[in-house]
C-alpha cells in the first residue's frame, strides 16, 4: 500500500509536473501519424502520470480521481472504439480498418478520412492501454492492503 509521501520535493514536483505530463501524453497520441509515438506510447505516459500521482499523494486520493471500476470501463471503452471503427469500415463496404471508406460518413476527402480514422483508433488504444496499466499498477501497489500492511 502506497501512502502519501512525506517528502516536500517529491510532493511539490509531482503536483507541478503531472498536468504537463498529461498534455505531453495527449500530444504523443494526437500527433502519432507524423511523429514518433501513437496510442500505445501515449497510453503508457498517461499511466506514468497516474503512477507519479500515486507515489506523491497516496493511493487513496488516486482512487478518488480514477477508481478501479472506472478504469475497467475505460479499458473496455478503448477496445470498443478500436473494434467499432474497424467494424464500421467493414459495414461501409471496405476491409477491416480500411479507413478510406469512412469518407462516406464524414464530409471529407478519403485521404483526410484515413487520417481521422487513425486518430480515432489511436485514441481507443491509448484509453485501453492507460486503463489496463493503471489497473496493473493499482493491483501491485495495494497487494498488502487486506493483510493490514506492515508499515
Amino acid at each position: 500500500m502506497i501512502r502519501e509521501s512525506q517528502d516536500v520535493i517529491v510532493k511539490t514536483l509531482a503536483r507541478l509536473l503531472v498536468p504537463f505530463i498529461v498534455i505531453y501524453a495527449l500530444y504523443v497520441v494526437m500527433h502519432g501519424h507524423h511523429s514518433p509515438g501513437g496510442g500505445f506510447q501515449g497510453g503508457v505516459i498517461l499511466a506514468a502520470s497516474f503512477v507519479l500521482l500515486a507515489i506523491s499523494q497516496g493511493l487513496d486520493k488516486i482512487r478518488q480521481r480514477l477508481s478501479e471500476k472506472t478504469a475497467g470501463i475505460l479499458s473496455s471503452l478503448g477496445v470498443l472504439i478500436y473494434a467499432g471503427i474497424g467494424l464500421l469500415c467493414l459495414l461501409l463496404g471496405g476491409k477491416y480498418l480500411d479507413y478510406g471508406k469512412l469518407s462516406k460518413l464524414l464530409p471529407v476527402e478519403p485521404a483526410q478520412a484515413r487520417s481521422l480514422g487513425i486518430l480515432g483508433v489511436e485514441i481507443g488504444v491509448a484509453l485501453a492501454v492507460m486503463a489496463v496499466m493503471c489497473l496493473i499498477v493499482f493491483t501491485i501497489f495495494s497487494f498488502d492492503e487486506d493483510s493490514g500492511g506492515d508499515e
Partner: protein, 92 residues
C-alpha cells in the same frame, strides 16, 4: 561537424560502460540505483546526439523527453521500493 558529435557520442558510450560497471558490481543496492539513474541520463544525451547526426532533432527530442520522464519515475519508484522493503537502513 558530424564527426565531432560522433566522437562525443562514443565518449558518452564509454561513460555508460563505466556506470554499467557500478550497476553490475556495486556493493550496495543504493550504488546500483544511482548508477542506473546515471546510465539513463547519458542515454538521453546519446539520443539527442543521434538526432543531431541524423538531422531529425525534432523527432529525437520527443523520444528523449519520454526517456527522461520514465527515468525519473523509475528512480523514484525504485527509491520508494528500497525504502519500504527495509533492505537498507535509511538514516538521517
Amino acid at each position: 561537424m558530424n564527426i565531432f558529435f560522433l566522437i562525443i557520442g562514443m565518449g558518452m558510450c564509454a561513460l555508460v560502460l563505466l556506470c554499467l560497471y557500478r550497476v553490475t558490481f556495486g556493493p550496495n543496492v543504493l550504488n546500483r540505483a544511482a548508477g542506473l539513474s546515471a546510465v539513463g541520463t547519458k542515454t538521453l544525451i546519446i539520443l539527442l546526439l543521434m538526432g543531431v547526426i541524423y538531422d531529425r532533432v525534432e523527432m529525437f527530442v520527443d523520444i528523449s523527453m519520454v526517456y527522461a520522464l520514465l527515468n525519473f519515475l523509475g528512480t523514484l519508484v525504485l527509491a520508494k521500493y528500497i525504502k519500504q522493503s527495509g533492505e537498507v537502513e535509511c538514516q538521517l
